[in-house]
């Protein structure tokens, strides 16, 4: 698309700072695209009214952008873009300027809007939580290249590379050599740790990255079937309300973070720093990834 000049592309953009034309009214801004496309006056007026109603801004046609709140300005930007019926709507970090509460309500509004309008919304954000909650599909990008394209679940549970795993949520990533075991694979990490996993998909002897999410690690062995454990030394305990974050270290010095759902009483008070612990996981939990390039 970069070969096509900007004014001839079949999609529209909602800019990060909205870029509303300060010398035009709301109606003027919204009808701009139609005026350029030489849509007739009557049809234009109707479509402007429809667009404003769609974003709940009916009645504010004559206002100037400087007289609107941030949220209202964003809606004008949305209306201005959507009125042209683009194939795709590009939203450039539209929520980054909003405070937390407003952001959450706007997220819901945008999702509803997208369902109503029915076109693809291409939403650019740095906020991975936002990406996870709002999207049907996520493309994780680094330096202009797409590293992985998939559903939120795909991205979270089966990240394709270290970068993607690091990017979404917290992860423990271990590197080692893959070996065929009796029931599945074993990844032998330098320093003696072994990871047992059920996943297939790499050749024997490959160097791989394995990712284990903190919530997969538990202090109790609950899985009776195929599972494994990590021997680690507890370094820090962080209490975060409903959970405990356990910061530990493996034999070879790699830091590990485990999430322990706070069991009332019992376990929470029985930890000491320096204590040796066993972190258990089900063999289905670890995920193999492409080894990060040299």
């Amino acid at each position: 698309m970069s070969a096509v000049p900007a004014h001839r592309r079949p999609f529209n953009t909602v800019f990060q700072n909205y870029a509303l034309f300060p010398h035009m009214s709301v109606a003027g801004n919204v009808s701009y695209g139609l005026e350029i496309a030489r849509v007739g006056g009557k049809e234009r007026a109707e479509r402007v009214m429809d667009a404003l109603r769609l974003v709940s801004l009916g009645g504010l046609e004559r206002r100037r952008p400087s007289q609107l709140s941030g949220g209202q300005q964003q809606r004008v930007a949305l209306a201005r873009a959507l009125i042209n019926r683009p194939r795709v709507l590009l939203l450039d970090e539209p929520l980054s300027a909003l405070d937390r509460k407003l952001r959450q309500s706007t997220q819901i509004e945008l999702k509803n809007l997208q369902h109503t309008v029915g076109i693809t919304f291409l939403f650019v954000t740095h906020d991975q939580e936002e990406a996870l909650t709002m999207s049907d599909r996520i493309a994780v990008m680094d330096r202009g290249r797409i590293l992985q394209l998939g559903t939120p679940a795909d991205i979270y549970d089966r990240p394709a590379s270290r970068f993607v795993a690091d990017f979404i949520g917290t992860s423990n990533i271990l590197t080692g050599k893959l070996a065929r075991g009796r029931r599945g694979n074993i990844v032998k990490v330098e320093g003696g740790t072994e990871i047992h996993l059920a996943e297939h998909g790499r050749a024997n002897g490959d160097m791989v990255d394995v990712v284990l999410r903190p919530e997969h690690l538990s202090l109790e062995k609950t899985e009776k079937k195929f599972s494994g454990h990590l021997d680690a030394t507890l370094e820090n305990i962080v209490f975060v309300g409903s959970d405990l974050h356990l910061h530990a270290r493996l034999k070879n010095g790699t830091p590990i973070i485990a999430l322990h759902r706070h069991a009332r009483g019992a376990l929470s008070t029985s930890f000491t720093v320096g204590q040796a612990i066993k972190l258990h996981y089900a063999a289905s939990a670890p995920h193999l990834m492409e080894r990060a390039g040299a």
């Binding site: 004014h7 953009t13 800019f15 700072n17 509303l20 010398h23 695209g33 350029i36 873009a81």
Partner: protein
Amino acid sequence: MRPEREPTVSNRRRISRGSAALNVYGASFLVFLYAPLVLIFVYSFNANPINMAIWSGFTLDWYRTLFGMQPAGAAFDAAFTENPDRIYQVVRNSLIVALSASAISTAIGTATALATARFQFFGKKLYQALLFLPMIMPDIVLGIALLIFFVGAGFKLSLLTIIIGHCTFLSCYVYVVVSARLASMDTALEKASADLGAGPFTTFRRITLPLIMPGVLGGFLLAFIISLDDVVITYFIAGVDTQTLPLFILAMLRRGIRPQINALAVLLIVFSFVVASAGLYFRSRRT
């Protein structure tokens, strides 16, 4: 705004004395700037035709004789006044030159500002530096350079040569003013316009131009006054029969100080200030 620490008692007194001193200094500075001009203003109403510094009564006659009207007071010697037709002639010349030069310069300066603000090209930094040169060079260097050029090229010195001469440095002045305006403009607006389907020229016409218009207008008005008031460059490249108002005043001053100069000066100052105020207002206005 700026968080202030709570000063101690003696500190507070020192700060307030310092502020008071600064205020006094600032006020005297303003007096220094405006007193000379106020003086001329006062003198222009002084009926004393011999010694301006001694007040001998209020009169509007100096103004009246400028416009060719009959003086109301007694003993008004023709030797004290200039030919009003001549005055009209030079004012007319000045206005023609100023209007033409500022109009042309505004167009050229704006085009140049757009080019440097929105395009990249080889040698741009050097080019931009060169654009400052006409404003940095002392007037006298420019004046004689143009004189040599026009005479050497066979141009007859006339209003046209004055206009051309003014356009050189006025274009650079407008360029600076409009550039500042373009720099403060949000480029996302132009991108948004393209995103909505407008081609480059439409974007310029409907978005860029309206938004920089105050700067363009301000530049035009200020260029107008600068041209109107120009002395040195005009001094060298004006023809014998194409005198502008400043040159006329220069000749008047050389002939000898007369009270009528005060009236002419006041009118010129008032006019300059009115137009310059409008220009400064537009130049700094946010759309």
